[in-house]
């Protein structure tokens, strides 16, 4: 079996300039989504009320109206409340919030962006911690070495 030429790393498909351009586009998309959410959300709290994960928060909130402003604060890059950060930390993308939102805000996207921001991923200081697993990708590579042939490793990964 010969290596598929399209799999070779070429300047066309992975150049630094291209990555930079796409990185800028991704940030622009996230920024526009944040602006859309901030202007559309009425802070009614319905998204929180239907969330099946809210009960697992380390700082449970009493109601949605009190916790959602803290999520919006995170999106603005401001310091948030323990209740909002606790809710953001337990979001596992159930998506129950999406049909519950009367303004079609897409609270699942709101929470995803809030999580990225609170973790420090969007150029604002981190407000929640994520345990980094230094072996994450090496573990995957090891399982691949245990289960795939040399030829499969070369061609498929």
């Amino acid at each position: 079996m010969t290596t598929d030429p399209s799999r070779r790393v070429t300047p066309d498909n992975t150049s630094a300039a291209r990555r930079e351009l796409i990185g800028a586009r991704l940030k622009e998309f996230q920024k526009s989504e944040v602006e859309r959410i901030l202007s559309a959300c009425t802070r009614c709290g319905q998204c929180f009320e239907v969330c099946p994960m809210a009960k697992y928060s380390a700082a449970p909130a009493s109601d949605g109206k009190s916790v959602v402003p803290g999520v919006l604060a995170v999106l603005r890059g401001e310091r948030s409340t323990p209740e909002a950060l606790g809710w953001i930390a337990v979001c596992t993308r159930s998506g129950s919030c999406v049909p519950a939102c009367p303004e079609n805000v897409d609270p699942k996207m709101m929470m995803r962006l809030a999580r990225m921001t609170a973790l420090g991923g969007r150029e604002h200081p981190a407000q929640i911690e994520m345990k980094d697993d230094p072996d994450y990708f090496n573990r995957i590579r090891a399982f691949a070495q245990l289960q795939l042939s040399d030829e499969e490793l070369k061609e498929w990964t």
């Binding site: 070429t10 991923g121 995957i140 289960q147 990964t157």
Partner: protein, 281 residues
């Protein structure tokens, strides 16, 4: 013959049998399928805390798929599929169609039915999550696919777990414990022989229930493969069940490939991990 890329993702590399079975299924259905996955094809979703890195990973992966010039990419992993939909495609020029693996099987279900010839006598409950259904209604599609297998009886199960897959709960032990306990209870109340997962991330977590003899656990691809007469060994489950003795099954040659120190530090704890449930729970 449609030329597709089978984007299996990263963590399913724990389950070589699932990857091999999926490829055989795709090729039996008449697709010219080329597999691609592993960290070099990461979607970037694991890098929520660093969007510069996440964006770089996404652009590299989309660039590689564009260069492969195949009509569509068929994703196995729900995280990759949703990350492509939610973020990657808004920043990248994608030159291929995207389909989720279950969607493709569902699309081809009449062709698939002809290959499901070996009976798999088993009453099952599905392990389902609330999420991901807006993208692909897998909670409806997978039971329909499994019901085509002679002998499979899909029991009604009242329990649907929160989130979209179990691996997200690794840092939420109380929630994961609830999922394990409710899953075990649903198998018992349905009088089922086994629980069947849709996603590999759930299979990996629930394999602990199998290893602890709470209930047998399968992924839906295991049942389809068995009915098609495919016979790839589920080594991950065997290693998980062996726990501390998994090295005996893996063997010295393969252990040497990854290094004993790495195996003991990074692999063995996962294989030994068991849910805090008993068979009587």
């Amino acid at each position: 013959m449609e030329r597709i890329t089978f984007w299996y993702g990263c963590n399913v590399l724990r389950h070589g049998d699932i990857i091999h079975s999926c490829l055989d299924i795709l090729r039996s259905l008449g697709f010219d399928a080329t597999p691609a996955g592993g960290p070099d094809y990461c979607c970037g979703t694991v890098k929520d805390g660093n969007q510069t890195t996440a964006g770089g990973m996404a652009s590299r992966t989309v660039g590689r798929f564009n260069a492969m010039k195949r009509e569509r990419v068929v994703a196995w992993c729900p995280s990759c599929h949703s990350h492509m939909h939610d973020f990657m495609e808004h920043a990248n020029d994608r030159h291929f169609g995207m389909t989720y693996f279950v969607q493709l099987l569902y699309e081809c279900r009449e062709r698939l039915r002809a290959f499901l010839t070996h009976p798999v006598p088993m009453r099952i409950v599905m392990h389902q999550h609330v999420g991901f259904q807006d993208l692909v209604p897998v909670n409806r599609m997978v039971p329909e696919l499994l019901a085509m297998i002679p002998g499979v009886d899909v029991a009604d199960c009242g329990y649907v777990a929160p989130g979209y897959m179990c691996a997200s709960f690794a840092a939420l032990p109380k929630a994961l414990h609830d999922i394990h306990a409710n899953t075990a209870a649903s198998v018992k109340s349905a009088g089922a022989d086994a629980v069947v997962t849709i996603f590999h991330q759930c299979y990996r977590e629930l394999c602990g229930l199998d290893a602890a003899d709470v209930t047998p656990v399968y992924n839906y691809v295991h049942l389809i493969a068995r009915s098609m007469g495919l016979a790839y060994e589920d080594e991950y489950k065997a290693w998980k069940r062996a726990g501390a003795n998994a090295a005996d099954l893996i063997g010295p040659q393969r252990l040497e490939r990854i290094g004993i120190e790495f195996y003991e530090r990074a692999i063995l704890p996962e294989l030994k991990k068991r849910p805090k449930l008993t068979s009587s729970s």
